[in-house]
C-alpha cells in the first residue's frame, strides 16, 4: 500500500475532468461578458430604476451609441401623460398601399438598413376578405391594383396583450397611456412574445442594427427608438418619443392619403373619437379577445 488507492485515483481523475468540462461549458459566457460592461450587466429593470439610476443609464447608452455608431444622440426617458389614452385608426377605403408609412417608421425608429426593417407591414388583400393571414406583404407592382385593398398592420397595443402575458422575465408591459413597451436591456431574447402576437407585430434583432451615423435619428427615447442591441425583441411604440410630447406619429405624417387618425381616446373632441363614434369600425382578429387599440374603418 503506497497511499494511492484505486478509489483516490478515480476521484482525482473525475475531479479534473469535471473541472475541464465546466471551464469549457462556461467559455461562451466569459466571451459574452467581455462585451458587456459591468454596469449594463447589473442594470435593474426599467421600473425599478431611480431617477439617478436612469440618468446614468441614459448617459451610458448615449456614450455607447457614440462609440459604436459615431453619432451624437439624445436619449430621453419620456413618461406617459396623465389623462391620455392613445388610440389609432386607419381608413381602409383611403389606403393605397404605397408603403410610405413603413418607410417613415424605418427612418424614424432607427431600423437596420440592410433588412429594411419597419414596424409596419402593408398587406395587399383580396377584396371581400379580412383574413390577414392571406395578405401579401411583398407585392411590388403599381398600386392600388384593381380587386385589391391594402391593410397596414403594426402593433395593435392590445389592452389584453398576449405578448405581455407570455414574457417570462416581465421585459415587456403595458404603460399607463396604453402603449406596450419593451425594456431592451431586460429582454432575454426568447421570442415567446413574437410567437404569441397574433398580428406578427414584433421583430427580433438577429444582428445588431447596421445604420450609418448620418442616418441615425438623434431624437431617441429609452423605451422606443434608441438603437436596439443584438438579440432582443422590438416593436411599434406609437412613436412614444413623439406622441408623449404631443406630436403625431411618423407613419401618420407620412401618409399621403390621410388614412391614419391618431389621438387621445379620453378627449371627446379628438379626431379618433369622432371616427370611433361615426364610422364603421372593426378590429383585427376580434375573436381572440386581445382588445386592440388600433382600429380599422371604411368610408361607406
Amino acid at each position: 500500500m503506497n497511499g494511492v488507492t484505486r478509489r483516490r485515483l478515480l476521484k482525482g481523475a473525475g475531479a479534473t475532468l469535471g473541472a475541464l468540462a465546466f471551464a469549457k461549458a462556461v467559455e461562451p459566457v466569459l466571451d459574452f461578458t467581455s462585451e458587456l460592461s459591468g454596469d449594463e450587466f447589473l442594470q435593474r429593470h426599467y421600473r425599478e430604476l431611480s431617477p439617478e439610476d436612469m440618468r446614468e443609464v441614459l448617459a451610458r447608452l448615449e456614450a455607447e451609441t457614440k462609440e459604436k455608431y459615431g453619432a451624437e444622440v439624445t436619449i430621453r426617458d419620456i413618461r406617459p401623460q396623465e389623462g391620455v389614452q392613445f388610440g389609432y385608426a386607419l381608413n381602409l377605403s383611403l389606403c393605397i398601399g404605397c408603403r410610405r408609412c413603413a418607410e417613415a417608421c424605418h427612418v424614424e425608429n432607427n431600423h437596420d438598413r440592410k433588412t429594411h426593417q419597419s414596424y409596419i407591414r402593408v398587406l395587399e388583400m383580396q377584396q371581400g376578405s379580412i383574413d390577414m393571414e392571406h395578405g401579401d406583404a411583398t407585392y411590388d407592382h403599381p398600386v392600388p391594383q384593381p380587386g385589391r385593398y391594402y391593410m397596414p398592420v403594426q402593433c395593435q397595443q392590445c389592452d389584453n396583450a398576449p405578448c405581455v402575458k407570455v414574457c417570462p422575465v416581465e421585459a415587456t408591459w403595458k404603460e399607463q397611456d396604453g402603449i406596450v413597451v419593451v425594456d431592451y436591456n431586460w429582454c432575454i431574447g426568447c421570442r415567446y412574445c413574437e410567437a404569441a402576437c397574433p398580428y406578427h407585430a414584433r421583430r427580433f434583432n438577429w444582428e445588431a442594427p447596421e445604420i450609418s451615423a448620418e442616418e441615425i435619428n438623434p431624437n431617441q427615447s429609452y423605451l422606443s427608438n434608441r438603437i436596439r442591441p443584438q438579440g432582443v425583441v422590438e416593436k411599434c411604440t406609437f412613436c412614444l418619443h413623439r406622441t408623449r410630447t404631443g406630436a403625431l406619429p411618423a407613419c401618420l405624417e407620412a401618409c399621403p392619403t390621410g388614412a391614419r387618425v391618431f389621438g387621445n381616446l379620453l378627449d371627446p373632441n379628438s379626431e379618433i373619437r369622432w371616427v370611433l363614434e361615426n364610422k364603421r369600425v372593426f378590429v383585427l382578429k376580434e375573436e381572440l379577445g386581445a382588445r386592440p387599440r388600433f382600429f380599422y374603418f371604411f368610408d361607406v
Partner: protein, 222 residues
C-alpha cells in the same frame, strides 16, 4: 422686371378673405362638433397662386393668374377644355381634364376665369378653392374637418404645438382629381415578408406568397 412686380402684387394676402373664412367656419354645423378643426391650419398650395413656368435662369417661378387675366378680357367657353387647349394655347396647353361631366364654368367664373364661382354665384379667389370643392364633395369635407381625410403634420395635442393640414389640391389635381397609380416603396425583408419571388419576374396575382421559401434566419444565425 415688370412681370415680377405684377406677380408679386397679384399674389395678394390671405387677410383679404378673413371674413369669408370666419363665415365658413361658423356656417358649418359639422364644424361645431369639431372644435379642434381650424381652417388656418390648412396650407395654401403654390398651384393655387398661379401657374408654374421657367424663370430666366431656368428656375421654377409662379406666374399669378392676374398677370394675364387682369389685362385680357377672357370670356369662358361653355364647351369644355378642348377649345381652351386648341384655341387659347399658351399656359393651358396639355391640361389633363378628367373630372366627371363638368365644364370649365362649373368651377371657374365665366366672366373672369382666373376666379372661382360657387353654385350660389359667389366669386372666390383660387386660394379659397376648398369651399368650392366642398359644395359637391360634402362627405370628404365632413371627414376632412374631423381629421379623417387629407392627412396632417404636427401635433395631435393642440396645446403642445401647431398642425398643418393638406389642401384638397395638394393631393388631387382639380382638373383630374383621381389618384394616379404608382410604384410603392420597397418591402421589408423579414421572416413574414421574405424576398418576393416575383421581384424580378412577372407579377403573380394568384396565391399569397407568405411563408413560401422563407429563409429562416435561425438556421444560419445560431
Amino acid at each position: 422686371m415688370m412681370l415680377a412686380a405684377v406677380v408679386l402684387t397679384a399674389c395678394g394676402t390671405r387677410e383679404d378673405h378673413g371674413a369669408w373664412r370666419e363665415q365658413l367656419f361658423q356656417g358649418s354645423t359639422d364644424a361645431a362638433d369639431a372644435p379642434s378643426f381650424q381652417l388656418d391650419d390648412v396650407r395654401v398650395p403654390d398651384r393655387l397662386r398661379g401657374i408654374a413656368a421657367a424663370g430666366p435662369d431656368g428656375e421654377e417661378i409662379r406666374i399669378a393668374c392676374d398677370t394675364c387675366h387682369g389685362l385680357l378680357d377672357v370670356e369662358l367657353s361653355r364647351r369644355g377644355p378642348e377649345r381652351l387647349q386648341s384655341q387659347v394655347g399658351g399656359p393651358h396647353v396639355g391640361l389633363a381634364f378628367e373630372h366627371g361631366p363638368l365644364d370649365c364654368a362649373h368651377c371657374h367664373d365665366a366672366a373672369a376665369p382666373h376666379q372661382l364661382r360657387t353654385a350660389d354665384a359667389r366669386t372666390l379667389p383660387t386660394t379659397e378653392a376648398i369651399e368650392l370643392c366642398s359644395q359637391c364633395h360634402g362627405l370628404q369635407w365632413r371627414d376632412f374637418q374631423h381629421g379623417a381625410h387629407g392627412g396632417m403634420r404636427g401635433h395631435w395635442d393642440r396645446a403642445a404645438g401647431p398642425r398643418e393640414r393638406n389642401h384638397c389640391v395638394d393631393c388631387h389635381d382639380p382638373h383630374a382629381p383621381a389618384f394616379q397609380r404608382y410604384r410603392p416603396l420597397p418591402p421589408p425583408v423579414d421572416r413574414f415578408a421574405p424576398i418576393p419571388p416575383h421581384r424580378n419576374g412577372p407579377v403573380d396575382h394568384g396565391a399569397p406568397t407568405r411563408h413560401e421559401a422563407a429563409p429562416e434566419p435561425s438556421e444560419d444565425g445560431s
